[in-house]
Structure formats: structure tokens, C-alpha cells
Assembly symmetry: C2
Homo-oligomer: 335 residues x 2
Amino acid sequence: MTQETGGRRPNIYDVASEAGVSKSLVSLVLRGAHGVSPARRAAVEEAIKRLNYRPNRAAATLAGNRSRTIGVVLDDYRNLWFVGLLAGLHEQLAPLGFRVAVADPLFNAHLDRTPVDGLMSLRVDGIVIATEPSEEMFAALDVPAVVAGNRDIRVPGADIVTNDDMVGGRLATEHLIGMGHRDIGHVTGGGGAARLRAAAYEASMLENGLRPHITRGQGFTMESDGYQAALKLLDQNPSLTAIFAANDTMALGAAGAARDRGLRIPEDLSLIGYDNSPLASANLLRLTTVDGRNGEVGAKAAQALLDRMKDPHVPVRTMLVEPELVVRASTAAPA
Amino acid sequence: MTQETGGRRPNIYDVASEAGVSKSLVSLVLRGAHGVSPARRAAVEEAIKRLNYRPNRAAATLAGNRSRTIGVVLDDYRNLWFVGLLAGLHEQLAPLGFRVAVADPLFNAHLDRTPVDGLMSLRVDGIVIATEPSEEMFAALDVPAVVAGNRDIRVPGADIVTNDDMVGGRLATEHLIGMGHRDIGHVTGGGGAARLRAAAYEASMLENGLRPHITRGQGFTMESDGYQAALKLLDQNPSLTAIFAANDTMALGAAGAARDRGLRIPEDLSLIGYDNSPLASANLLRLTTVDGRNGEVGAKAAQALLDRMKDPHVPVRTMLVEPELVVRASTAAPA
DNA sequence: ATCGTTTTCTGGAACGCTCCATTTGTTCCC
DNA sequence: GGGAACAAATGGAGCGTTCCAGAAAACGAT
């Protein structure tokens, strides 16, 4: 398969001599530069194919002092909101020649102190923090950064892009109120986004002269958190006709709690989630939810990064994406 | 924060002079080598901290001609079986100083022809293919590789590690038969794993003198595929008392279909899934399922890779992990 | 043809590490 | 106190690119 290069993997010199040009010209072709004659370009591409040459990104990163890669810090693969975010990032960045590297949530403390350290060692050109940022993370930050999905914790010098959880929380609560519900509970969790959604819920309730009922689960991402919290909520407030869960996963838990208390959705209890995850569209739930438009968040995060790469001194911005209500079958007027 | 290195990021030379040692000694400390005196080691670590030095992995990869990284090719973040796989890989590899890099399923064809190309450019030391391998993928393979979760397509030179889908399919089917079910349907999907599970279902049914009923969804990963297929199955076979779905996501779809046909689970219809995903343990489903023990698959994949890195000529192996039945509340004896 | 101009192409010098052969230092024994 | 044996530390070469300044080629206008 591979031509003979003495057992070695071929490098640009091999390609260059195969194509009868200089190594620099090969480099130009690899980077898709302008000002290369079509004939030479074709010759180089031919040679690349013949030798089964594959560029060495380590060398490119070292020599160019940049990796053309954007790092993304995730916290949990099971919380699927990041999928839309990555798609949005990709869509904006790939055409410009940037790759996206995900810093493994399981990163090992033995090798790097934080996922950010790992990405910095890779010499990424920018970082998207899609988790609750911690102090020790931003000590290491040395490149343009944006925090996505969280406006609670400010990272010095980092832009913030997120869906507007306050608006989303109001959207959800007012949807229920608009349908005629008066006794509406809220199941919340840990973390900044949950806090804002809860605050919006509370504000909406009070503005409408209604009494808020909030129960907090242990975590934010687990179905069991939603289940436990919803059980408590239902048992303490038997007159409840609707629940707003801080995310779809917790809504799934709440749906389990409702079933266990003999409540049908939406006949006996309306249920609304947040995130518009794949779960929400499942036929078993047909969950009304709030779509945080994570693709848009990703696209805006990419834009913020690109702007800051061009000029590191642009003022720090907070960009809010307007969430949308997605009405499905889990909400209805109270009996 | 950073000490003065003339605006540059500090490198090993800066650390070396700060600590009063040679660059080589710094390198040794970085790699955690033996034979460095505690005093010098401490001095170097001090200097690293003072300068806020972060090693350049591109340079390390280039110089060492290896990245100490294992690449993993995924196909869809929404199909959560990979989470256990990654955990298993991590657990084995991190203590040995290997990182795990996930090749983005959204990889852009503009930058790399396949995800494998991208990983090869990164000079990974091994590759785990956790998706259906394609011809053009293994053209690029040049390092130890293992295919995880699929024994259908053979990649030349690659080991295979997967849960034993045949055993799992039998486990599920015989669990239902053992409970007294006679009319059992199967909802299957695309892909090699699904094919094996279906074959095992069919074999078990026939061995027990029962007539198999298989319906195939469009895809394998979508809830809607399971929903559609289960609807068809139920409508064509009204006497059905149990459904075995090829994975938990499709089982969720099947649960939706059952609900829409007025069937209670497990009173009117028993339902069993496959994967033991987070979904299965949700209180709304409490789904009986087959656990493919993906953590174990990941651990074995790591071992296969390490063995082949040591000696590229060890014969190609197929390693099967024994799956386990996880009984929850979605299965019961027929009425 | 001749001379600018512009376009295309080239060689050399980094980039920041690892690896290896060698040097320097230390310990222990007779 | 001298040397063997071992442990610890070092300097140089090389990894495969990019970038840059400048050379060569192509093109136009006179």
C-alpha cells in the first residue's frame, strides 16, 4: 500500500520529491493556500495519495504555534444538552479549518489537574467551557474562552453565551398559568442554570398572585433526583395540578413519580421540562418543554471565540439566546 | 501570574534554568521517570509551579513519535452505550499514562476524510472503533486497533471486543419464555449487534417451538424507530404478551406504542430492552434489560490494545464479554 | 527585447520536546 | 585511598511541520 519510504511514515519531504516540488509547496497545498498553480497542486495531491501520506498534526501545531483546534470542556456525557452545542460549534468552525476537541469528562487527575490543563497542553486556540467553571480551571486559561450554558459564574476575560434561563423559566411557568393552572410546583436541582429557572418560576408565580412550591433534588442530571423531588412535592401538595421540572431528565423522573401516585399526564397533572432533549420527543412522554436552542448557543460561542482570537481585547460580552416553548402532549388545562 | 519569559509561554529550558538543572532532567521529571533524586525533582516541580509552565504535547508527540493517546471513534453521542466503554478504557489506560481522545462523530469531511484519518494525524498510539467500521476507515489504519461492540464486520488486523449479543439475545428471550410467555415479538434495527440479537431471539423461539415475530425499525438508535416498529408488531399480532426490543431506546419507543394501544406494562405486555442504559433504570420504565457490561468491554479493549502495542504480531483475537440479565419491573408472567 | 510587477515557488530557521550516548557524581568494598 | 559499580544528570541530534525572506518565473507595458 504505502510506497517505500524506508519503513518510516512518509513526511512532506517524501511527498515533495515524489511530486517534484519543494516541501514548502507541499505545505502550502496542505493548508489550501492561494497562489499555487493548478498543475502543481494536482501533482502534490497525486503524490499524497500515492504515498498514502497523512500530515502530522503534532508537527504542524508545534511549528505554527497553534493547533487550529477549539477545546470543549464537558461535565457529563449523559446530559445531552451538549450535543446541540457541539453541532453549532462545528457548523461555524469547520469551514474555517478549525477542529473541535472534547476534553473528556473522565479526565484523569493524575495526568492533568483539570480538563482545561489538558486542553492547554494541546495548545488549543480557544476553549468553550460547557460546565460549571471552577477557580482552578481558569487559573490555567491562557487563550480566548467562552462559558456556555452558565451565566452564574464569571470567568475573568471569558465571554458568556447561554440560553436565557430566566425567559425560559417564565415561558414554562406562564404556559401553565395560561392554561389555567394555579397550583404549580417546581422541581429544581443544583447549578446555576437551575437556579435561574427556579427564580423565574418564583417570580412568575408571585406576579400572578400564586404561591410557589419548590423542591430540590440532590443533583441536577439524574432521573432519580427528579423522581425523589417530585414525590416529595406531590405528597406535600396534593392539590398540585402541574409541575415544571428544571430539565427533561428530571421531568422523566417526575413522570415516574406521577405514575407511582396514580396521576395521569396530562389529565391529572401537567408536566413541563426544559432542554428539548431527545427524551422529550419520546412517544411515551411527548413532553412539553423549553428549547434552549443549543445549536444557536454553539454558533454564538464560536463567533465570540473567533472575534476574541482576532482581537483579544474586545470587551467581554454576555450573549443570551432566546429560548422557545415546545408544546407537546404533557400539558393541558386542569380538570 | 506568569514569571517573565519575554511574553513567550515558558518551555522546558525556562523551567530548567529556573530550577538550576538541565532541560533533560526537566523532561525526566515531566515523564515521571525513575532515577531522579527527590531534591531535584522537588526543585523542578517548584519551578514548574512558579512559571505556571504547561508542557507542550505537540512537541512531546513529535519528538517521541507517539502521543500516548488512544483514539476512540464514536458514531452518535445520543446512543449512550459508549459511556461505559470510555470508563472502562480510562480505568485501564490512565494509570499507564495514556489519554483517551474521542473522534468527534460530527467530524467534518472537509478536514479529514474519516474520523480515523483525524486520529491518525494526531498520531494516536491505538484506535478503538466503536461504530460500524467502513472500508475507507481501515484503509487508513496504521496502529493497533480494536473494534468494540461489533463483531459483524472484520477489520483486518484488528481485535474484536464485544458483549456476546447472541448470549444476551437468548437471555432476554428465555427470560420471557421462562415467565410463561408464548407470543413474544422482537423489535430490531439496523447494524450488526441488532442482527445477532435478532438471530438469538429467533433461535430461542424456534427451539422452544414458538413462532418468532420480528419487526424492523428504520434505524437502530432512535426512539421513533422502536415506536413505529412496535406499533406495527402489536397491530399485526394482537395476541402478543411480550416484546423484546433490540436496545433500551427502542424499548422506550415500544413502551410508547404500548401506552398508545392501551396496554399496561407489565400487566398486559412485558417489555425487555438491551444495554442497561440510564434510561432503563428510570422510574417511569423500570425496564428489565440485558447489561452488555460495557465497562468490561472497554477494559478488555484497552488490554487488547496494550498487548498489540507491545507485540504487533500477536494473533487477532475476538473477546466476548458475557452479558447479564437485569430484572426490573417491566416483565411479569402473562395474565 | 527590456524592464518593472506580480505571481509562484523555495531553502533555512525555528518550534519544544524525547531519546541516546556520555559525563559526572556517589557508594561501597578491599 | 583507589577503583569498580551503579545512580543521576547532561548536551546534542532529530522529529515534521510553518513561516518568512527572498529567488525564480510569468506577465505586461513600453
